[in-house]
Amino acid sequence: MKRQIPLALVFIFGVILIIQYFVPHEKSEWIFEFLMDWIYIIGIFALALGIWSLIRVSWDKIRLRRENWQYSVVALLGLTAMIFFGFDYFRNFFNAAGLQNFMFRHFFDYVMIPIQSTMFSLLAFFIASASYRAFRARSLLASLLLLAALIVMIRFNPYFGPLTAYLEQTASWLLNVPNLAAKRAIVIGVGLGIVATALKVILGIERAYLGKD
């Protein structure tokens, strides 16, 4: 019962979605939109579960005075403040005015967005450090990697004089031909892997997601 019903549900809904693809009828489209809506609604409950886990872990850290427990206080304060503003100081608990609350929006614009953008911009430094570490011609494969990367990186550099045009064409050819070929091979393999795994999940062969009793 603990495993049979979930396996049956996986099979039933998997087959429904497969059949739905082939049926253009209006009722089939309705089923698809319906099921997608269900997934979004269940996702909200999953989010609540996640928030609970975050609060629990942070609270345990604070309570047991584990290392860096002070920062868990910061996390909980940030969480509480955002919920407080998101529900418009609990004045407008019953409508979405909280989402337009100026503190809610300001925390989003002046804390979330700057930190997010800065994290993203760290990639510039990390791509340089990764290049420095990885681009060593230790073997044929590493040399191929290095050469291809160099050609593509310097293709728009005007300081190579008459070579610039050839570099650009070579880089363009590399990006449009062997790049395309290898990516296609990877994508075909991934597609087959996904199809096979999805089939195993639907048929109940792959059950890792159910855990164990």
Binding site: F13, I41, L180, A182, I202
Partner: protein
Amino acid sequence: MSTARRTSLIILAAVIILFLVSWFAKFSAVQNTGAPFGISVRDGFYITLAAFCSLAIFSFLYKDNPYYKFAEHLFVGISAAYWMCVGFWSTFVGNFIPKVSRTLSDFFEVPFKSFDIFYFIPLILGILLLLRLSNKYGWLSRWSLAFIVGTTAGLNLIRYLRSDFISQVSNTFVPLVVDWEGIDAFFSDFSLAANGQFIMILGNWVVFIGVFCGLVYFFFSKEHKGFFGTASRVGVWVLMITFGASFGYTVMGRVSLLVGRLTFLFGDWLGLID
């Protein structure tokens, strides 16, 4: 007091002073544009806060430090709550409530659409998911999980079969010879132009061999020896060229992200860029 602790306190004091100086400077700058006193104080504070959060994250490049930890934990808490609020109002109240109850729709001030009894099923599945917190009834959460996994598996099976399999195979059907008019014409019109016959034929052959050898590399149930091994090795070479080209292609894009952040710091915060 140890040296490390004294140093930390000095740095903390310096950061606080710098924050206050920046706040005052931004407040003055905003007020000079004619903004009221309250708005100037508020905007000055927020721009300074945004700049210090950015610098706190950049400090991670040196090493892990209390300012990075502060920004990280603040970000985690705020972002978790942000998505919860948005998800609650947009999905739960916006999508679910209008389809189950007119009273609740009026209560939450959203337009009621129509009563649909089937929408109680995701509600029940959602509550079952929350039972995960119970040791005794936690196994019921598998039903919700099974629904999500089954639905997505069915969707992915078809979607990826069409896009990653059939479409990709179809796109590999390129002619191995292009505009062929005989050997004499081929050599007399020979050129290395990108749209020339030679380059196009070469390109098609490389695509064909690249896809073929790449697929051979991904063969798992046959040992890579002999012809198979050679083809697999060629596949790896093509893969390495691809990875190098892709890596090189993204470098400029990543640098532009940094340029964006530096523009904010030097422009909006320090006012050094117009």
